[in-house]
Symmetry: C2
């Protein structure tokens, strides 16, 4: 019997598996198509500061803790896997177009300053000096040198290799149900008919985390995101650009030698996976508005996936109500950012039996019993 | 030795092969990837009337002759292949948005009436009665009941089957050069090293028709077109809609059970095959402007291919300067429409030795010797 079985081989599941295996536990990861879920669509922003929302201070602190871990996490991951993860430390520029956009930037800046976060207001000329490809119509910006990015797909590939190198076993099957004996989770039932028994079961199925038959309800709902990948963008942008385009949000994240990700929609549509004409149009429209040179790039890929949303849009970390069952899901828009802190916190829990303090506010019992059964949309969700 | 070898297994090449084989000739078609060129991108409009340009009356007459053949051609093709070709006879509606668009529609209507073509002016209310999905902002329209459409990919599949059923052989290799003996074309050299000898050689390589080594120059240049395919469009449109959106042209062609094609750009960029963010944006923008419901459709496919353009944008049909060599290329925007008349005219030539009168104005010698060597762009070409 293995120590730990992880349901889900995305960034979170593999991150947990790698860190747990490095600490001496025997680990199996169950996934029939690892890296084809939300991990494949992620833009890779490590942006707790520019993503900071009001009334979400606990989440912001978790994000900052994870951001702080990223450089060492990336270095260890590259060393263990022998693969690059594309960490970019050029910072993030947030820009606005009209009066309302600028007021929103100003409010974000005030909030960041209250929290003691580093962010610098830039005049239009300074914005364009930093990113000359930006349209001259930009009214001003906010520079957050600490908000970085990684290449999400490269991170996933490196985690696959590093987890394997650390001894974790990948079971290419679909986790369909939970094995429960004497009121305790004891493993996974596989779609292919087999089972994997383990001392602990970690649920890292992202938006599908509610699907394991036989387990307690997991308050996760799918939040659809559509995203575009461009090619031919070498030299276009130095770092991430986030823009408020007359009230709509768009971000442009350079990656690899010549890639650019443009995202993303935020839609409550269940598990609808359609790439729609309207979403692609709006993303292209806003991206071209912000950086006219995007028009000449190759539209290389369009994609729709589902973020795991929770009632308060913060993750679910740590023990579930069923003994032996551990949650590592619900990361919503922050899965890439939160991979290091999640992987370390869950590995700590698996090794020592207790969850580190930084993750403590995010256990599922914060919702009480009544809330756990539903992950109804509407928690301040906005389009894009 | 076979009677005829056709270089190119797109719509034109297979059309010629099928009709020639049905008339008793032995035929081989050489193509390493039949149906992946312009045939795969074609919208399938059979629209000589709405496509009618000024100063192109000979081409219009050829188009009308081909349109007249389409119903019988489609019926025979479906019978010989056992496959549907998706002929839609719901007509074509041309609509405009602003004063300039309406003036252009009016001028098109006048020109059509001078030529005795049937087209009816519709007021906005009648336009929307016919196609209720159109935006209420449409200012008026022109209904051409005789302009139809087919499913271009279905036609190609049916031609492959029908040509094979008629005895034509498909050689899956790339035609690289012409065999020339005693001043006469006697076959093709293949990229794989072999040769195919034949009494006549037909060049139907579309935009690549100039590529055969050892042959005379063929005045064809690539004219890039980008096109989108949508899914989920069942019931959205009854027939083809062409729109002038403040001076830009866009068309929407329903096909199959729930498909919709939105096209197309017209770009002189050589053999650049990039699907660009700007082109996809503009096509989506104009299509959504014309039919707002397009926004909800699935963007299923984006594609760039090359139309074969000639100095006067009319096809090259019939004997080349080299004995034994026959041209069936240069169809530019009208390849699907002109498939029946081309296939029959070239089959006639191959069987009887003389080109039918309808095709006579389109032999390559119309350019004289000086013009033949270049197919320079600029012959009234416009963007979109």
């Amino acid at each position: 019997m293995t120590d730990v079985v992880v349901a889900g081989g995305g960034l979170i599941g593999l991150g947990v598996a790698w860190r747990a295996a490095r600490r001496g536990l025997s680990v199996a990861v169950v996934d029939d198509a690892p890296g084809t879920g939300a991990s494949a669509a992620a833009a890779g922003m490590l942006a707790p500061v520019t993503e900071a929302g009001y009334r979400e201070e606990a989440l912001l602190r978790l994000g900052l803790a994870s951001l702080e871990r990223w450089p060492a996490f990336a270095a260890e991951l590259e060393r263990d896997s022998g693969l690059p993860v594309g960490l970019r430390t050029a910072g993030t520029l947030v820009v606005g177009f009209d009066d309302d956009d600028m007021r929103e930037l100003e409010a974000l800046h005030d909030f960041q300053q209250q929290l003691g976060l580093s962010a610098e207001r830039l005049l239009p000329r300074a914005v364009r000096r930093r990113e000359p490809s930006l349209t001259p119509r930009v009214r001003g910006g906010l520079l957050v040198t600490g908000d970085h990015s990684v290449d999400g797909r490269a991170v996933h590939g490196a985690l696959l290799a590093a987890a394997a190198a650390a001894g974790a076993e990948l079971v290419r099957d679909r986790a369909d149900g939970l094995l429960v004996e004497d009121g305790r989770a004891t493993g996974l039932r596989l779609a292919g008919g087999g089972t994997v028994r383990a001392g602990s079961v970690v649920v890292a199925l992202g938006a599908h985390s509610g699907r394991l038959a036989g387990g307690p309800p997991v308050p996760v709902r799918p939040v659809k995101g559509q995203i575009l990948r461009m090619a031919g963008a070498a030299g276009l942008l130095d770092g991430t650009v986030r823009a408020l385009v007359r009230g709509r949000h768009v971000y442009l994240v350079p990656y690899g030698g010549n890639g650019l990700i443009v995202g993303a929609t935020t839609e409550d549509r269940g598990f609808d996976g359609t790439v729609t004409a309207g979403a692609v149009h709006d993303l292209l429209h806003d991206a071209i508005d912000v950086v006219p040179g995007v028009s000449e790039l190759e539209l290389a890929e369009t994609m729709a996936r589902w973020r795991p949303g929770t009632p308060d849009n913060a993750p679910l970390l740590g023990p579930a109500s069923l003994p032996g069952l551990v949650l590592a899901t619900g990361h919503h828009r922050n899965g890439v950012l939160l991979t290091p802190v999640t992987a370390d916190a869950i590995a700590d829990l698996l090794v020592s039996g207790s969850l580190p303090e930084v993750a403590a506010p995010f256990t599922v019992d914060r919702f009480g019993h009544a809330d756990v059964r539903s992950a109804a949309p509407g928690g301040g969700e906005q389009c894009r």
